[in-house]
Structure formats: structure tokens, C-alpha cells
């Protein structure tokens, strides 16, 4: 459904607008979010076109203009975007600017973890038995 490159800030803003207010044409979207950002109607139209080509919007011609509506729910897309981002970050330390509490690509070896759990429990018991 969603292919890279990731959504830009304006694309997200347009989607949020459509999720919030339902199907709109380019002029309506521009009036609501384009004016305040100081961007031209053409830019909004291009953004809508890009989102349509990414299969995130459907469109229907009404009179002389297209009316766009989201083709995915917000929650679905957000989860998918987050998964994409986290997956690429977890691809074997591909991003050196990132430090994870536990390696995002960590593979769980249950036997090893059980061994470590026992070790921790032993240390805890020793610490509690130690006279203060």
C-alpha cells in the first residue's frame, strides 16, 4: 500500500485535513491549510495528485474539479508508517545516529534469557542474605 519515500509534512497535513473534514476539492483544502502556510494552490493540487498516485486517496470528478477522499483510515496509515520507520531503523544498526535501549532487531534466545534470569535471581538472593 505505502511505498517509500515517506510522506512529507504537507502530505500529512493534507491527509489530516481530509480525515477531519471529509472529501474536499483542492480549492477547499488550499483555503483551509494552504493560505496559513503561504503555499500556492498548485502546490496543494500537486500534493493531492501525489497522494492519489500513492493510493492513499480516491477521487471523483465533480463538475470541473476532482473531489478527493482518504482511501485509508488514519489509524491504519499511522501504524503502517511507524512500522516502516522502525523497521528501517532496526535493520542491523543501519542508523548510527540512533541508540536503542535494546537493539530493535534483537533476537530472543529463550534459553539464554532464562539463564540470565536465574543469574539475576541468584544475585538478588545473595544481596538480600548479605548482612547490612
Amino acid at each position: 500500500m505505502l511505498t517509500r519515500p515517506y510522506l512529507g509534512e504537507l502530505e500529512l497535513a493534507v491527509l489530516e485535513e481530509l480525515w477531519g473534514h471529509g472529501a474536499c476539492d483542492a480549492k477547499t483544502v488550499h483555503r483551509r491549510i494552504g493560505d496559513r502556510r503561504g503555499i500556492a494552490l498548485n502546490t496543494v493540487q500537486s500534493t493531492l495528485e501525489r497522494l492519489y498516485r500513492k493510493d492513499l486517496l480516491t477521487r471523483e470528478k465533480v463538475s470541473h474539479a476532482y473531489v478527493y477522499a482518504p482511501s485509508v483510515r488514519r489509524e491504519q496509515l499511522m501504524e503502517r508508517l511507524i512500522e516502516d520507520v522502525v523497521e528501517t531503523f532496526s535493520a542491523g544498526r543501519s542508523e548510527p545516529m540512533l541508540a536503542a535501549f535494546v537493539d530493535l532487531a534483537a533476537k530472543v534466545d529463550d534459553d539464554n534469557l532464562a539463564r540470565l534470569e536465574r543469574l539475576i535471581a541468584e544475585r538478588r538472593a545473595e544481596a538480600e542474605d548479605k548482612p547490612s
Binding site: L12, V86, E95, L98, A100, V102, K107, V108, N112, A127
Partner: protein, 332 residues
């Protein structure tokens, strides 16, 4: 016959030769140094590994400075360089040798170097740009936490927490992880991540990765893997110091590993025990008393390094003439 290159290309060739020497020495020494490095406290080990990873650049620069130092000292009036005719090899003089002479060999060397550096910069820039775009998207999809400073909460069913960013690091924590850990574990996780933020580990790891690319590939991978581990252990120690309970940190790592990790393939080799092995090594490290910082060791190493530097600059004439001779051989 005077060699037809200017000081610019000569300096670049010296930098390159010095970097190659550092890379070769590193490849020979690093496998041996591993045991000594593990005896260092994690924060110190991280600093040493960072210096090692970036050594081709800073040691190369130091070598260039050393080689040019007689000429620079002469210019500053604190030494005398003999600027007689060096017809048989390049004369490394900041006063008499032009930076560019415009010869064919110069253009070839410069052109090749510019192409390599450009390719490297473009690759690094593309990667950095891609990572920043992803982080920007993650930031847009998250909300700043009202309780945890510098922390963004991402609504996701997948448990994760990491600190990312080079100049303005931020912590990203999923709602799934927040809901799965108890308050003590959360405090441990956040203390660990804040330590990454304060230590500028994103910048450290990025720089090491960037300049570490000059090392021979197998050694580079080892240095960077060891650096990652040292950085994580240094932050574990900070979290342990703040909570006063090393076992608490060990238990938290274990719990989060179970939450985040996917099942490992059942392999017979030792490697299976160490997939995601950073977590195991970190936990085992926390089960031992902390390795104390040893100021006397650091002081000794600093004094030794300073002594070597003084010795090197005292014999700068030898380095200067050796570099000129080497350039003479390289340029035929």
C-alpha cells in the same frame, strides 16, 4: 628536476599515506587490544574506541602538521627550516612552495580525490537526509510527553524506545512499551536514554561511523560494534548509579529484551547464544561490580601520549625529510 606538484596535493598525499599507515597498524593491533579494552570502564572504553574509529583522520592530520612543522616554525620565527634547492623531491615549505602549480599529475590527483570525497559526502549526505526524513515523520506522528522531558510518545502496538538525532537528540518511546513496564522500569529506561542524550551519543556514533569508513572493513565492523556496546554500557552505569540498584537495570534490560525481541533461530553454535548479544553482555556486566574509573591509568596514558608528541615534534626534521623522500618515490 623539481617535482611538479604544489603543497596542496603534497599535503593530501601525506594525509592519505598517514591514514593508510594508521589503518594497517589498526588492523594488526585491534585484535590484540581487545582484551585490554574490556578492562576499561565503559565510558572510558567508549572514548578510546571513538578515538580509534576516527584515528585515520586525526592521526593523519597530526602527521601532516608534524611534517610541515619545521616550515611553519620557520614562518613563525621560532625555528629554522633549510629551504635549499630540493630538485630531487618535493619541498614541503609553506613559504616557498605554491599550493597549486597546475601540472597534469596535480590535476589527476586532485580530480581523483575530489571524485572520491564527493562520492563519500553524497553517500553520507543521502543517508543522513534519509534518516532525518524518517525521524521528522516519527516526530510528526508522535506527541511530546507531558511527564518525561525530551521524550516523544508514539502511538504504536510495537514496543520500542530509542534516542535518535545528532544535534538535537530526542527520545522516542512507544505507547506499547509505556504500558508494558512498571514505574521503576520506566524510570530506568528513561534514565538510560537521557544519558544517551547528555553524552551526545548520536553525534558520537555518527562521527565514528563516518570516519570509521576509512578502516579495513572487518576491523571497522568490530570497532563500531564494540563502540555501540560501550556506549550502551556507559548509559547502563548512569542508570544504575541513579537508581542505586544494578540488578534493577539488569532486570529491566531483560524484560524489555523479551518485549522487543523476536524469536531467535535455534542454532547449535555459540553465535546463537549471542544474537542480540549486547543485551546478554550488558546484563552480565551489571551483575558484576562496576569497573572503577582509574585516574592514574588515564594520567599515565596522557603523559605517555604527551611525551610521544614532544618526541615526534623534536624529531620533526626527520619526519619532514622522510615525507619529502616518500613523495619523491611516489611521484617517480
Amino acid at each position: 628536476m623539481t617535482m611538479e606538484i604544489g603543497l596542496g596535493v603534497a599535503s593530501l598525499l601525506i594525509l592519505f599515506c598517514a591514514a593508510v599507515c594508521v589503518v594497517v597498524i589498526s588492523a594488526l593491533l585491534y585484535p590484540v587490544a581487545g582484551g585490554w579494552l574490556t578492562r576499561l570502564a565503559p565510558a572510558t572504553r567508549a572514548n578510546v574506541l571513538f578515538a580509534w574509529a576516527t584515528a585515520p583522520v586525526w592521526l593523519g592530520g597530526l602527521m601532516l602538521l608534524l611534517v610541515l612543522s619545521p616550515s611553519i616554525a620557520h614562518t613563525l620565527g621560532i625555528g629554522v627550516d633549510h629551504c635549499h634547492d630540493h630538485g630531487h623531491h618535493v619541498h614541503l615549505c609553506v613559504v616557498h612552495t605554491p599550493w597549486v602549480v597546475g601540472s597534469t599529475i596535480e590535476w589527476l590527483v586532485l580530480g581523483g580525490l575530489v571524485a572520491v570525497v564527493l562520492a563519500w559526502l553524497i553517500a553520507a549526505g543521502t543517508r543522513l537526509g534519509g534518516a532525518r526524513a524518517k525521524l521528522g515523520l516519527l516526530r510528526a506522528l508522535s506527541r511530546p510527553s507531558t511527564d518525561l522531558s525530551s521524550t516523544h510518545i508514539v502511538s504504536s502496538q510495537r514496543p520500542f524506545v530509542f534516542t535518535a538525532g545528532i544535534l538535537r537528540p530526542r527520545i522516542y518511546c512507544s505507547s506499547a512499551l509505556l504500558n508494558a513496564v512498571d514505574p521503576n522500569e520506566l524510570a530506568t529506561v528513561i534514565a538510560h536514554e537521557h544519558a544517551h542524550e547528555h553524552r551526545r551519543d548520536g553525534l558520537r556514533l555518527f562521527t565514528a561511523d563516518l570516519f570509521g569508513g576509512l578502516h579495513w572493513s572487518p576491523i571497522r565492523r568490530r570497532i563500531l560494534a564494540d563502540l555501540h556496546l560501550a556506549v550502551e554500557q556507559a548509559c547502563d552505569e548512569v542508570a544504575a548509579e541513579q537508581s542505586g540498584d544494578r540488578l534493577q537495570v539488569a532486570e529491566t534490560i531483560l524484560h524489555v529484551t523479551r518485549l522487543i525481541g523476536s524469536p531467535a533461530p535455534r542454532l547449535a553454535s555459540v553465535e546463537a547464544a549471542f544474537t542480540g548479544s549486547d543485551a546478554a553482555v550488558r546484563i552480565e556486566g551489571l551483575l558484576r561490580p562496576p569497573i572503577p574509573q582509574r585516574p592514574t591509568v588515564l594520567a599515565s596514558v596522557s603523559i605517555l601520549a604527551a611525551g610521544l608528541l614532544v618526541l615526534a615534534f623534536a624529531s620533526s626534521d626527520w619526519w619532514h625529510h622522510s615525507a619529502e623522500t616518500l613523495l619523491g618515490y611516489l611521484l617517480g
